[in-house]
Subunit: 414 residues, 2 copies
């Protein structure tokens, strides 16, 4: 913050507080908002009446009177679903999910399609995304153009959240999804890392479990991580950062999908489990796409008896555990969410993970570290993506200095 705070910044921030309070709480009254924001009732009254006049908020007449108390009943405020909308797009290996989200966060429409991402051309892939969004927007009732698109992809995005720098789902690099979608559809677009979206979603869904500090580790074909630190989503300085899966576990170690040697992913990714359980050499080339069934069969075999499968999971757990220990050395220990297909094998992974953490700087707290599992990552990614897009709209709403109110009768001039 090198720049001074001007007078209008104050209003903007307090408007953001009010919108944020309404989004976080479920239909709070003005008095409740005043309590959580610690602003005075008069300020909340002024700001909320502005926001209602602008159409962002609505007074909700709850049919069931919440609590028949004495006194003037509280008036619940809610987000006006029709005020605006956003699009959340999730691009995974061979699949493309699109959702239309109302301003209040409800899903208005949704679509999934298959897409051969690995074999498509660069432009072809980008155009497919444009087309999918266009299709989604055209098939519903006639609506205003959404205010924002958020696109989540596995891989590395740039710091301006507009480009996909690298991803395992496509052989192409540096795809400018942001500028392209903006040009073709006229909608500002951000590109986000999928694991970061998982972290965002976890915080929204279970704010008491996933508070200011936690790790979300995605165990799937690749290994990803999203990290909340001091209440903020952690990102790199030039990119999405947090490339946990490609931290080096063993120098000169197993061959990774990324071409390097000894990455955590090269021990804990699905392809690594298959390679290791099959008794292949660590330098055998990684398989492309492993089916979920194959991994489950491996896990069952590992549960059944000692053998190559169990050893493979042990090596995977060790890689994850040492990696997490290194994270703890940097960030300090925090709760961990194990997300994705790998969560189904967490019963086999937990012991080696904890054993490895105990060997690291985070080790003194090894027993106290809480793990939770969440096998299905897709709903989280979509939800995080939607909330990220909505956060942009909320910022815009907060910044919109009490709208010019042109052609808007019923509003007295001061």
């Amino acid at each position: 913050m090198t720049v001074g705070v001007r007078h209008d910044d104050l209003r903007r921030r307090n408007r953001a507080m009010v919108v944020g309070a309404v989004r976080r709480a479920t239909q709070p009254s003005r008095t409740e908002i005043a309590a959580t924001t610690r602003l005075s009732n008069s300020t909340i009254s002024a700001i909320s009446s502005d926001l209602i006049a602008e159409g962002a908020l609505v007074e909700v007449k709850s049919g069931e009177t919440a609590l028949a108390r004495r006194g003037r009943p509280q008036v619940a405020l809610g987000l006006n679903p029709g005020f605006d909308s956003v699009v959340s797009v999730v691009l995974t290996l061979n699949q493309l999910w699109t959702s239309l989200i109302s301003y209040d966060g409800t899903v208005a429409d949704e679509a999934v399609q298959r897409l051969p991402t690995m074999t498509m051309g660069k432009d072809e892939l980008a155009e497919a995304v444009v087309e999918a969004v266009r299709c989604l927007l055209q098939r519903g009732p006639r609506r205003r153009r959404p205010a924002r698109i958020a696109l989540a992809v596995q891989g590395i995005t740039d710091s301006s959240d507009s480009r996909l720098l690298w991803s395992p789902i496509t052989p192409h690099s540096d795809i400018a999804f942001g500028p392209l979608l903006e040009e073709r559809l006229g909608i500002p677009t951000t590109v986000q890392n999928d694991c970061n979206m998982i972290a965002v979603a976890l915080k929204w869904r279970w704010p008491q479990r996933y508070g200011a500090d936690f790790f979300a580790v995605l165990l799937s074909n690749g290994i990803g991580m999203g990290l909340m630190q001091k209440g903020q989503l952690f990102t790199g300085t030039h990119s999405s950062g947090g490339e946990f899966g490609h931290m080096i576990h063993v120098p000169h170690g197993a061959l990774c999908r990324c071409g390097r040697r000894g990455c955590i992913e090269a021990y804990a990714g699905n392809y690594a489990l298959v390679r290791s359980a099959a008794g292949g050499a660590e330098t055998d080339p990684p398989a492309a796409d492993i089916g979920q069934a194959e991994i489950e069969a491996l896990a069952d075999a590992a549960r059944a008896s000692e053998g190559r499968e169990r050893a493979a999971f042990r090596r995977a757990g060790e890689a994850i555990g040492y990696g997490m220990g290194n994270l703890f050395a940097l960030f300090d220990p925090a709760p961990v969410a194990i997300v994705g297909p790998g969560a189904l094998a967490f019963d086999i992974l937990e012991e080696p993970i904890r054993a490895a953490i105990a060997q690291t700087a985070g080790g003194q707290h090894s027993g106290a570290i809480s793990f939770a599992t969440e096998p299905n990552e897709m709903p989280l990614i979509r939800e995080g993506c939607a909330m990220t897009a909505l956060a942009f709209v909320d910022d815009q709403v907060a910044a919109r200095a009490s709208a010019p109110a042109a052609h808007q009768p019923g509003r007295a001039m001061a």
Copy 2:
């Protein structure tokens, strides 16, 4: 930020901006401050006249007219050295440095003493620090009590910056320096990690080289790191964090001073170099305090010919390089400062460090990463410590709502 912005926060922030601008720039004029803060001239005028009335700032009559231009000459504003003072204390293995710093950042007095930190009792050590500060304060001319003490130590501090949780310079853990010094001397005290202070100092000294993002790696008997990310000093959530030296380089690897196996320090710390060059086993117990001369002899031997010494430095560089590569995977690449005695051997370390980084996720930029060396870490630690203490005073100054002005004539009431 869950709490609303009230009206007085605005003034507080803008006062902080002005104080900060004066501290950063060298005696700027009001107009220059207005330019850097983007506040209006009237606001700067009002705030700076308040700050002058309160005694924090002074108008500096520079003997040499900076630039004989036409028009009313600018009046330079400076920090009033006599306004307040702070104490910076640096506790290292067997040494204790204390400095009295004026509000303008100049060193008013300074003292060093030897101290057998490894053999002293817990209370004894703490009392020695109290006594050293008391001694420093008593020997000069009679002054007001300093506003703040900042204590820098190698090791891990807690998140409230008041306790030393663990340190290699003493066998004791969890020493409450903060509360103790505050109780005994009546001066609020913060305890800080030494490498974090190095990072702070680098940013103050060479803001263009060490800007918003850089790593400061201390190579000494132990391995430490301070990290600036997005303009902020990086710290853990419960502790000072950033324990680079105790990230695991090789699982089940060499024995570290901390008792664990395979830490980066166990390959790159002074004791590790000596152990490795002597042909000792990786599990040989680490030596306590290695003299600087011994390391320089090792480095000379390594420069002279291929052999065990050169191999030791190569292993050290590899450990550092892989560790930095892992940092780059999380934070993204950034300039690196190699600080401390190890900087003198950087000519031998650079090649293996770069080679290792090239094997990691940060590898694509391996050649572009800039290294700078700074062999003498003590001045940096003391400087960072002083600036940290002064930052607290600046915050207080900013928060002090235009002082009651009691018994202060010559100030018209509005």
